[in-house]
Amino acid sequence: MKKISLSIPKINDYTTDDFDVLFNLWNQVNNDNMDVTYEFSQCNFLRHNAVAFLGGLTRLIQARGGTVRFALGSIPIKVKDNLEQNGFISTLGFEGTPRTGNSIPYREDLHQDETVLVDYLKTKWLGRGWVHVSDRLRDKIVGRVWEIYANAFEHGKSPIGIFSCGQHYPRRHELKLTVVDFGVGIPSNVRIYARNQNISADKALQWAFKRGTTTKPNGTSRGMGLDLLKEFVKLNKGKLEVFSHEGYAIIDSEGERFMNRGTFFEGTLVNITFICDESYYHMASERVDEEPLF
């Protein structure tokens, strides 16, 4: 078993460089039978994206016959407090009990359990009193975010499941959520579907975001989820970022950009930002629509 000490630095989610830090960690342990110790002495904070990613990375190492240890003594008190609050430490089998605080719980989902996930989004992510949105807007946001989970479970092929964590940033009125899987990645699915291994990762992401495109037609029309989500994000001044392989998609009020980057991650990471203020949101009219449906 190969021993490695993985130094976890402070990890933000401001720029793609912050995500590169995570993907470089994955690169260092992307082998079977690793004996990994997470060391935190250089880490003075970890954002939600890092929490979700490190949780998944831990399960990936374990699923490949490896071992993960936390150098608990190296974790700065503030970081440890946050990791205890959000349940990260206890979920992964180490000391500490989750508490109700300002953090949003870390989650691991091996299967798509609708009731549990909807409760998480409604009550633990959106419904903590920090987001001033009406019930109907809350339900709309949950429905749109569900599309991320539906895609991850259906297409991700992640043998270890889906990992999530959120965070509320009161000063910026932002609510964030990261959903990450360690499956095959969007470019891989698109290349298999198109029977063309030469499609670049950015073009594959661009294709996946087009209305009506899906790698799983199965005789049923599909491919609306990402389209609905991106439209909602664009209209409401939010931000949607997707990292898969070396591809990167960013969707915000300025539009959609797709690019290739230098860092590779085999799975898919989605980072979404919503503004916690109902005045930003455009809702469909309450007018009764009498037009024929079909």
Binding site: E114, W146, E147, A150, S200, S221
Partner: protein, 115 residues
């Protein structure tokens, strides 16, 4: 036939599995030319997989004009109607006829190659 979505799947209309449950009940009725009223009272959260599998698929075998005549959706809040209309729009294009559907799949493949 009248069906309550809430009684069948609860307030969350999200998954393919729940969509399939509804489809299995309404499709034979509509196919036989009988009317169906689908009541969304108390249903609150909506996503495309549910509508793709419950309603979008109906367009594969049943003409839009027949669906407009036989199938009625009631008490669906605007948030849900917005998703449903998008799904129907997409399904109509996809199922307009078998040749078009095949052609669209081919186009997708070509797009993949051209990208």
């Amino acid at each position: 036939m009248k069906l309550s979505v809430y009684e069948l799947v609860g307030e969350n209309c999200l998954t393919m599995e729940d969509g399939q449950k509804i489809y299995d009940l309404i499709y034979p009725e509509l196919q036989a030319g009988r009317t169906v009223e689908l009541d969304f009272d108390k249903a609150k959260i909506f996503a495309s997989p549910f509508f793709n599998f419950s309603i979008g698929r109906l367009l594969k075998d049943i003409k839009p004009e027949d669906l407009n005549r036989l199938f009625k959706v009631i008490n669906l809040v605007p948030v849900g109607r917005e998703v449903l209309k998008r799904v129907i729009e997409n399904s109509k294009q996809y199922y307009s006829d078998e040749n078009t559907r095949k052609a669209l799949d081919d186009v997708l493949l070509e797009q993949g190659e051209d990208l």
